[in-house]
């Protein structure tokens, strides 16, 4: 149920996520070590295009990567295929992407 294009998309999103995860962990460690409060963190992220792009890219990559992985698992576990599988894949992508981007909006807008 994974063709070459979905396979490439999943590898590409993995490539994108790897450095972003490291960046995210580094920022977390910095924030905790520095004892930054929630409002101090928000003060730095709000209105920042850079942080919006950083976490926005991450949220979209996660949604794509996870939707393709879940698509394979759902097909292999429940035998779902065809149109219903395609709709479910898109639904998972939309749900995860929507939730992720909503959170990014909340801290950077």
């Amino acid at each position: 149920m994974i063709g070459v294009r979905l396979y490439m998309l999943q590898r590409l999103t993995a490539l994108i996520m790897a450095p972003l995860v490291i960046g995210h962990i580094a920022v977390m460690i910095y924030a905790v070590q520095g004892g930054l409060s929630a409002s101090e963190i928000l003060g730095r992220t709000q209105g920042s295009l850079l942080w919006a792009l950083f976490y926005g890219t991450f949220a979209v990559a996660v949604a794509l990567h996870a939707a393709i992985g879940l698509r394979a698992i759902i097909h292999e576990t429940f035998g779902l295929g065809g149109k219903s599988l395609a709709i479910l894949t898109l639904g998972i992508f939309a749900l995860l992407g929507g939730m992720g981007l909503h959170a990014v909006y909340a801290v950077t807008a």
Binding site: M1, I2, G3, V4, R5, L6, Y7, M8, R11, A72, H75, E76, T77, G79, G81
Partner: protein, 240 residues
């Protein structure tokens, strides 16, 4: 023959629906699992259906599940697999059972064809023979994959085959990889397209059940990894 010199051999009887029937089979030195099956058919029940031809690990027709593990029965010694004097012999997994130990191999070979398993010549008999150097990287890859005997042991071992009926499986994809590396073959892009669909090489989980069980010690997982790289390159260049 005394009791301690015999084995309890459970053999699958019936088609998809059926049950195991147990036979006492005399033990012999250097006995193979195929010998057990042959003994049952020749001495206990002539209606037992099973398949074999060469008895020396060449033809690939004798594969069965032995104590739950897919094996070539003509080259599997009983001493290696018997558990407390018992052996359970069942038809190969992941293929429809025709009768007893004989499975329908059609889906297996249909997938060979679907994966572009047929050689596509670029020359005719009127052309001169093209010299093929054994040490080129392509030929080494092709040689590593070419000793397949079509026994379907890997196909029975593959969990993706059992959960995704469209999956072409390790043997067909391994065959496709040997042809991808064959410089005499002229159907590269068609073959890469054939292994890139819903049941193609990208569905392999790479956990190497096929490698662990292939009696000829081939590495279909490596072949499939090669196909994944080749298809990605071809897709990036817009060829597939």
């Amino acid at each position: 023959m005394s009791d301690d010199a015999s084995l309890k051999v459970s053999v699958w009887r019936g088609a998809e629906a059926g049950s195991f029937e147990t036979f006492d089979v005399p033990m012999q030195e250097s006995q193979t699992v195929l010998d057990l099956v042959a003994w049952v058919q020749q001495n206990a029940d002539p209606t037992l259906a099973y398949r074999y031809a060469c008895r020396v690990g060449m033809c690939g027709s004798c594969a069965m599940m032995v104590n739950g593990v897919p094996r070539w029965t003509c080259r599997t010694h009983v001493s290696k697999v018997a558990k407390d004097g018992t052996v359970e012999i069942a038809p190969l997994r992941n293929l429809p059972v025709i009768k007893d130990l004989a499975v329908d191999m059609d889906p297996f070979f249909d997938k060979w064809t679907a994966a572009g398993g047929a050689f596509s010549p670029t020359k005719s008999r009127d052309d001169t023979v093209e010299p093929i150097l054994p040490e080129t990287p392509e030929r080494r890859e092709a040689d590593a994959a070419i000793e397949c005997i079509n026994c379907a042991v890997c196909y029975a071992a593959c969990d993706v085959v059992s959960v995704n009926p469209d999956y072409l499986g390790p043997a067909a994809l391994n065959r496709a990889w040997s042809l991808v590396n064959d410089v005499k073959d002229g159907a590269l892009d068609a073959r890469l397209t054939a292994v890139s669909g819903a049941g193609g090489c990208h569905n392999c989980h790479s956990q190497q059940g096929c490698v662990a069980h292939c009696p000829n010690e081939l590495n279909p997982t490596a072949s499939i990894a090669g196909l994944k790289r080749a298809t990605v390159r071809a897709a990036l260049k817009g060829r597939i």
